[in-house]
Subunit: 223 residues, 2 copies
């Protein structure tokens, strides 16, 4: 057997194990009425900035906990310390994505009893996280206006699995020469099932629509 | 033996094979006096935009060929068709990096006889490409000013292997609120051996220094 074939078999076995752990996570989150989100994007698309503002603006309305993954540093965990539901930092070393087992261990450190939303901020990567179900209810993919309008076509596997796409850093759209129509056309092709919201955590543009989305998703999950 | 241990062993075997192929690539490039560069960055940091302008500006001085990797689409290959030394597009499917074997096959399609520089534009990813030597003479890592100043600390494995870091999209530095001192401090920590150049392919800022770097590196390789 070639190493490539053997590796494929082991990858499949590991993914099978991930599916089981993801199902257990999902069942637990559902049972407790918690909306679990998996936030994925390239490095520097603004996942943490979006969360920083969201946690502040929704502090009185929703109890939000955060699990955040990075290869190194706890910078993001520190930036999100104001999460009412707490924050757990996972450092993955050289691993380019979170997996369901990491979430199963991290959620032991979160008080799930009074949580409305658990946001899982994945490692910054448009490839590796695509194949790993974490047990989330919704997968939210961020694409910043500075990254180029063709990214949905160039990373089709991830975008195809998105439930919501957030076009971020809209305050930089003009300076970056962002072609909005091209981006929306490519998103319709690559992420046909995803809703799309245009936001800026800095200027506040579109944040109200994002908060509405979250409130409705929490209610829907409990209905 | 656990699946994790078995996987690690197979990963090591595959990496050993990669080292051999990388050494063969490197030997061939050196023998032919070609400067081979491995361009790595997050998605959307401006690798292709940098190359587009470089190929145009240096067309009469240096013969440059390009091998470009993407999961999907040949967009980048088409954008770089004006490379005098030709362009080869590799589509990797779900693989998040190029490897030395892919380069060994792709270089068969490049006329290496009259080439000064071979630029290998890697898949947009700050994690996976770090461990894969392609046989390049220099590894060039791009970091755009819109991505956040802490990225060198958050992706230490890749930045540690950089010979040159290009801070890109400098024309957006003010609009993005880029903290230049923080970025340079973090680069000194994470990429102590790397030279740093600040460039904008759009405004042309710093491009002359980048071209000087290339000319000197070509001469040095042939000295």
């Amino acid at each position: 057997m070639s190493t490539a074939v053997r590796r494929l078999m082991i990858d499949k076995a590991l993914l099978g194990k991930n599916e089981q752990l993801a199902a257990a996570n999902r069942q637990l989150f559902r049972a407790k009425g918690i909306l679990a989100l998996n936030l994925v994007s390239a490095p520097g698309s603004g996942k943490t900035a979006l969360l920083e503002r969201t946690l502040t603006d929704l502090a009185e309305q929703l109890r939000i906990g955060v699990i955040v993954g990075d290869l190194a540093t706890d910078n993001d965990g520190r930036r999100l310390q104001h999460a009412r539901g707490g924050v757990v930092q996972i450092t993955t070393g050289t691993v380019c994505h979170l997996d369901a087992g990491m979430i199963a261990r991290a959620r032991e450190q979160v008080d799930l009893e009074h949580l409305d939303i658990l946001v899982i901020e994945n490692v910054g990567n448009l490839v590796c996280p695509a194949g790993y179900d974490l047990g989330e209810a919704l997968r939210v993919v961020l694409l910043s206006v500075t990254e180029g309008e063709d990214k949905p076509l160039k990373y089709p596997t991830l975008f195809r699995t998105a439930d919501l796409v957030l076009l971020t850093k809209m305050d930089l759209a003009t300076a970056a020469g962002f072609d909005r129509e091209a981006a929306l056309t490519n998103l319709r092709l690559a992420a046909p099932k995803a809703a799309v919201l245009e936001v800026s955590a800095r200027s506040g543009q579109g944040m109200a629509a994002w908060y509405d989305f979250l409130r409705r998703a929490v209610e829907h999950g409990r209905a």
